[in-house]
């Protein structure tokens, strides 16, 4: 009879094992939480967060997304002398210079935003940006000389209100040396969109990519929305709005507080107005755009910042599905009806 006892124990053990297996199976689908990785790319911190993916799979999915951003940076960086965009900027003016199709397509999008914004948005401000030097290290402490700015303005006025960027199937023709491509207003947004596409191809359905304020969101955190803060423009530790967003959604903010210096009591910041050649003064100090994609959000946040409240909101109406949150100089704020925010307050 001894074997019967043994069998009983074996059966009991098997039952327990089966229970543990059930337990194991029912909890492998349990939320593994958010995995994040941060890299320094495109002159800013790029953070990718994915939800609902196991450790190793998250790393494997993020790598191609980071690589995509690095690829785009090497294609359209102004500061890498070897990039096709830097070579375009070095090429002689007034004749067509071949550029990779992807770059030409993105520039065409930029020129289109320029047209729709009646020149408030301009991807041809490279020489002006160099003059101001907001990307320099150490950062500038004084505006460029009056003569230098005047010189830029007169060369610029020779374009008679055109953007001076001609894109043809053969390449790109820059009109004169007042024009040089600075894709800063759209490149990060484009890179974020492309990186999100890489994540999607890797099977990631829930993710957040944040490239220095250009953000794109896919899905949620297991039904819970992504919880996003909007920086208070005058208090780096505070937020003025809290958003619970579910993808697909993009969010971009342009503010006068990102890169700036004070000279003689005047705040000079990095968002330049193509019409004046100086920091945009439209009565707004911060513009946030919610849009279906990051490229649009990126471009519109810059364009609205330059245009100001009235003209900016008129431009916004041309873009269905795009909403804005504006902070005025007097620290009052306005948000469009469809702007998604759990709560918002003045700075």
């Amino acid at each position: 009879m001894a074997w019967r006892g043994k069998w009983r124990w074996l059966a009991g053990g098997a039952a327990l094992l089966a229970l543990l297996v059930i337990g194991r199976l029912s909890f492998t689908s349990a939320p593994p939480g958010v995995h994040s990785a941060t890299r320094l790319q495109m002159g800013t911190l790029v953070t990718i967060s994915v939800w609902g993916v196991a450790d190793g799979a998250a790393e494997r999915a993020m790598e191609p997304a980071f690589e995509e951003i690095a690829r785009i940076e090497s294609l359209m960086s102004r500061f890498l002398a070897s990039s096709p965009l830097a070579r375009l900027n070095e090429a002689p003016r007034g004749r067509t210079h071949p550029v990779p199709g992807e770059l030409a397509q993105l520039m065409a999008r930029g020129v289109e935003f320029g047209r729709l914004s009646r020149g408030a948005f301009d991807i041809g401000l490279g020489p002006l940006s160099d003059l101001w030097g907001f990307s320099r290290e150490p950062p500038p402490t004084a505006p460029p000389s009056r003569e230098a700015l005047q010189n830029w303005r007169s060369r610029r006025s020779a374009l008679q209100g055109e953007q001076g960027i001609e894109i043809t199937p053969e390449g790109v023709n820059l009109a004169n040396d007042a024009v040089g491509v600075d894709p800063g207003g759209i490149a990060k947004g484009y890179a974020v969109d492309q990186a999100m596409e890489k994540l999607r191809q890797a099977g990631v359905e829930n993710a957040l990519i944040n490239a220095g304020g250009d953000m794109r969101i896919a899905g949620s955190k297991g039904g819970k929305p992504w919880h996003i803060g909007l920086r208070d423009p005058r208090n780096p530790d505070g937020v003025v709005a809290v958003m619970d967003l579910v993808g697909p959604k993009a969010l971009s903010t342009s503010g006068d507080y990102e890169r700036f210096f004070l000279a003689d009591g005047v705040r000079h910041h990095h968002i330049l107005d193509p019409r004046s050649g100086e920091s945009a003064r439209s009565g707004l100090i911060s513009v946030s755009i919610q849009a279906p994609d990051s490229l649009t959000a990126d471009a519109l946040s810059t364009a609205l910042f330059v245009l100001g409240e009235q003209a900016g909101l008129a431009l916004l109406r041309l873009f269905p599905g795009c909403e804005a949150f504006l902070i005025r100089e007097d620290l009052s704020f306005v948000q469009t009806e469809g702007f998604i925010a759990v709560r918002s307050k003045a700075p």
Binding site: V34, T38, L45, G213, M215, L230, E258
Partner: protein
């Protein structure tokens, strides 16, 4: 109720031995896990790890940034970037960082710090997944 007399009365010598040995074992394992190397911060230069510092040893360490040396300070399990002054230096703005997965950076120097480990469940619901700025 007097616990100690009760304890003395209802334990055998072997019980007391087991109590003593297991208490010693628990204390020893607690000491071992506490003094275990524990959390570290990894320093990246241009996205490549160049240095790893234990967070349980206070001190300062210089690393070469793109624009010169950057000082990394570890104190009481926290870490921060020091000395390079720039409005783009997120390091100073972030201040001390501590929790696993937290990062600080000096963008122009090409330096990023990241506290190693698996990020715990977010402490409270106040923390954002991201901040748009």
């Amino acid at each position: 109720m007097k616990i100690l007399p009760l304890l003395a009365e209802s334990t055998t010598p072997m019980d007391r031995l087991v109590m003593g040995i297991s208490a010693l074992g628990i204390v020893a394992s607690a000491i071992l896990t506490v003094s275990e190397p524990g959390r570290r911060v990894v320093v990246f230069r241009d996205n490549r790890p160049v240095l790893s510092l234990a967070l349980d040893r206070d001190g300062k360490q210089e690393v070469a940034g793109r624009l010169g040396p950057v000082t990394i300070q570890v104190e009481q399990g926290r870490v921060r970037l020091l000395e390079y002054q720039s409005p783009r230096m997120i390091g100073t703005r972030t201040g001390w960082i501590q929790g696993a997965g937290r990062t600080a950076a000096c963008v122009p120097c090409g330096i990023v710090l990241r506290v190693e480990g698996h990020p715990k469940k977010r402490e409270g619901s106040l923390e954002f997944d991201a901040v748009s700025e």
